[in-house]
Structures are given as C-alpha cells and as structure tokens.
C-alpha cells in the first residue's frame, strides 16, 4: 500500500504528517523538539526510516538529530561543525571583512544510496559531509576557500548555503546555492567548485551579471532530466538545460517573479511550480490571494492554481525549503506557510486542501513517498 510521510520543520518544532496514497486523511504527529527551530528534516532515499533533522536555537546553538525508525524516536547526533584550516573572511553588509562564523545548518541532503552519508549546508556558507550517520562532520573546504569567497556577502537571512542538489545519474556532480553568492557546481563530490551563474542578472549589484553575488533562493531538478535545473532567484525565475553552464529567464506571465520556492512535478519534467511573493519588501503573496503558479511548458507560460486556497485576506509567505512533491501518480504537491498551514494537492495542483492550519511558522517541507 503506497503512502506519504511529510516532514515539516517549523519555528517551534517538527511535525510528521502521514497519509495513505489517497492523501485525503492525515495523521499529525508532533511537535518533536518543541520550542526549537527546525530548519530542515530529510529522509534518506536509501532507507526512508533514517531521517535527519537540523535543530537550532538562538540560546543553545545547533543540534543534529537522527532517527532510525521514521521519526518515532530520535537521538542527538554530532553537532561539531568546524571549518577546516584558516577561516578567512567574507564581506559584511557594510562591505567590511567579516570572519566566517558557524551559526546553523540550513539544509541536510542525504546521499542517494548510503543512509550514513549526508551533506549539510550551513551558515556562514560552507559544505559539510558526514559518512557515519551524522556522528562526525568534515568540511569539504573547496567551496569556502573558492577564490571568490572573500567577496561573498550575506543576504538578509545570512550567508547561508540553503540548497543542495545531487545529480542522480552522477552523484559526484552536486549543485549548491548560497544567498547571496549564487549557484556553484562540483564535479568531484564537493571537493572543488566553480560558479554556475552565467545568464543571471541582479540589479542589486553594480555589475548585474557578475560571476558571483546573485541571491539565488532555490534550485530544483527532475531526476529523469538532470541537465535541466529550475531556479527561483530573489527576482526572476530561471532555467538551464546545460547543467547550469547558462541560464535563461522563464518568468513569463507571472504576476511577480519574486519568490522563494520552486519545484518540478515528479511525473513530468516540464511541469514546474512556483509561489509568487509580492516583493522583497513585502514578504507576502500578492493581492491577498494564495496562488500556486504552474507551467506545463517548462516556464514562460504560467497558470494560477487557486482551487481550495484562500483568495482574499491572505498575507502569508512561503520560504525556500517549504515546498516538495511526492512521486505518486498523480503527483502530490505540498507547501507550508509562515501562517502555519501545510497544503496538499493530490492531483498535481488542480485542487488544494490544508492538512493542518495552525502550526508554528513553517520553515521546511519534505515528502517521502512510501511504496
């Protein structure tokens, strides 16, 4: 019997939502780690019962949690994220050099084939790897020591490495995104990196098409077409079909091309979803209407999906890690809001309903398809 498990990270704990393949009736479990910020949880593709969670607090710092039984029980794993060698500096908001300082883990990306291997993207931006189930962590320092790194500047949310995408046909090829440095690609499992931002333009920089410095919010890939990536940049929705060698804009008829999330339908690599947000000064949806936009043409031509979503007096935001898809047929689409709602569409976006409405502000949504 197929089913789904939705892992939800919030400002005040983690929740696990489960349903059968119908995705109509839900069981809500939590809060786990009540009172702590849960930036991200993610299950291992190789062992769905193995789940990692990033737990943090302004008071108590970073904790890494691991479950071996699908979130029924948890144990604290290793939380020592030490930068390798000289830490150096990046630029601060006022353009002065600022020492690299570890603050938190934004994103966890388990290996595709080894439950004990997991990558972590952290703030201040760096790329870590564990090969022992998150017990110990090693920085792959080629990213942080990239020649451009001393010129990286934080976005408003900090200098965070928030997105990690592994090419399923070549796990040595990894893409990451940093706010506000941009996309980097590795061909050697994270040892070395090069910027992959050609085609991006950002008017927040004096050189609008600079090699680095772009505030990339999220990138997404369909596993069957790993040379194609979709991007929600601070402003602009983008696409590449050559492994991020070049990008082109596909914002098309979106009401605004600012936003955070972007994802691809599991059953169609040309069906893409975004949730437009009014602007970088108005972190809520336009016109009081919560609308997911879907393109069935790989971008440029977008349709608003509203059936079951609030269409008046709605002023929520949807953060970069707070959308995911399941791989059932039809594919389910999920997202969580700053207002604490988690919505599901079991039919690829045609209709929506709230699984829960009153959680703490949602930071991340990850879906495990259980077959």
């Amino acid at each position: 019997m197929s089913g789904v498990r939705v892992l939800v990270g919030t400002r005040k704990g983690a929740f696990i939502l489960t349903s059968d393949g119908g995705r109509k009736r839900w069981k809500v479990d939590g809060p786990h780690f009540a009172g702590w910020e849960i930036y991200h949880l993610k299950g291992s593709p190789a062992d769905p019962d193995r789940i990692y969670a990033s737990q943090s607090s302004g008071w108590f710092g970073q904790v890494l949690q691991r479950s071996n039984d699908a979130g029924k029980t948890w144990a604290a794993a290793g939380n020592q994220f030490q930068y390798e060698g000289e830490t150096g500096t990046h630029l601060w908001y006022d353009d002065t050099p600022h020492p690299w300082e570890f603050k938190r883990v934004w994103h966890l990306e388990p290996s595709l084939d080894d439950p004990d291997r997991v990558y972590a993207g952290v703030e201040d931006a760096a790329f870590f790897e564990s090969r022992d189930g998150a017990t110990t962590w090693t920085e792959l320092a080629g990213l942080r020591t990239h020649p451009t790194a001393s010129g990286w500047t934080p976005g408003a949310g900090g200098l965070c490495l928030h997105t990690i995408v592994i090419d399923p046909t070549n796990p040595e090829r990894i893409y990451i995104a940093i706010s506000a440095a941009g996309v980097f690609r590795s061909e050697d499992g994270g040892k070395s990196w090069r910027p992959a931002n050609k085609g991006l333009r950002s008017n927040t920089m004096p050189d609008e098409d600079a090699e680095v410095g772009h505030c990339v919010h999220r990138i997404a890939m369909h596993p069957s077409r790993p040379q194609t990536l979709f991007m929600q940049k601070h402003w602009d929705v983008m696409r590449t079909d050559d492994c991020a060698d070049t990008w082109r804009e596909i914002s098309g008829n979106l009401p605004t091309d600012f936003g955070f999330v972007i994802d691809v339908n599991a059953n169609d690599p040309e069906t893409v979803y975004v949730i437009p947000i009014t602007s970088d000064s108005h972190h809520f949806v336009p016109d009081g209407k919560l609308r997911v936009y879907r393109s069935k043409t790989g971008g440029d031509d977008w349709e608003a999906l509203t059936n079951g979503l609030p269409q008046k007096d709605c002023y929520v935001n949807v953060l970069r890690d707070a959308m995911d898809v399941d791989s059932l047929d039809p594919s389910g689409i999920y997202f969580g809001t700053s207002g604490g709602q988690v919505y599901v569409s079991p039919d690829g976006g045609d209709s929506w309903s709230a699984i829960v409405r009153d959680l703490p502000a949602v930071l991340s949504v990850e879906v495990q398809t259980l077959k």
């Binding site: 780690f33 009540a34 009172g35 702590w36 607090s57 302004g58 008071w59 108590f60 710092g61 970073q62 904790v63 144990a75 604290a76 939380n79 020592q80 030490q82």
Partner: protein, 98 residues
C-alpha cells in the same frame, strides 16, 4: 554531588529532569562542572558553551546563591554551598521576547 538546574529545552534534549547531579574531579568550577555535565550527557555538547573555545554561549547565564556568576573565570571556584551540593548551579536561558 553537585546539583545543576537545566532550562526546559535542555532537559528535553538530554532526557533528564530539572535537576541533574554531577561528580567533578578536583575543585568545583564552571569548567569542571560543565565538563562533567557534558560527559554524562553528550547531547548537551555545544549547547551551553562552545565545544571548542569553551566560551559560554551569549544567551546563557550561570546563577548560584543569588549571584550572577556568568562572567566569572571558568576556573574560579564555585561558591562553597554549590561545591557542597547544598545549593544548585542554575543554567539559565536569557529572557525571550519583550
């Protein structure tokens, strides 16, 4: 045994009650008490003080015997009632909100 009072979030993290007891080697100081606490409860590593520098996390305070010991040297002796187990060392999270 020295008594240490933990904030609620750390009680949950370590799976313990409000008060934990630790045995220290040598003089009772902030360092020796925290060393013993982390040895007994590894889940607390890095949550009260930085795991490498041993510096107190900025929003954590140490109180005992109605005194704020937060800025005392790490190796300064704790008050005698704490060392004798008559008074607890309180680990406090700075007040939240406004």
């Amino acid at each position: 045994m020295i008594q240490v009072v933990l904030p609620r979030n750390l009680q949950i993290l370590a799976g313990v009650g409000r008060v934990v007891e630790v045995q220290v080697q040598g003089p009772a100081t902030q360092r020796s008490v925290l060393d013993a606490l982390e040895a007994d409860h590894p889940a607390l590593l890095g949550t009260v003080r930085d795991a490498v520098t041993k510096k107190r996390r900025p929003m954590i305070r140490f109180f005992a015997c109605e005194e704020d010991l937060s800025n005392e040297p790490l190796d300064a002796p704790l008050p005698a009632p704490v060392a004798e187990g008559k008074e607890p060392l309180l680990i406090i999270g700075a007040i939240a909100g406004g």
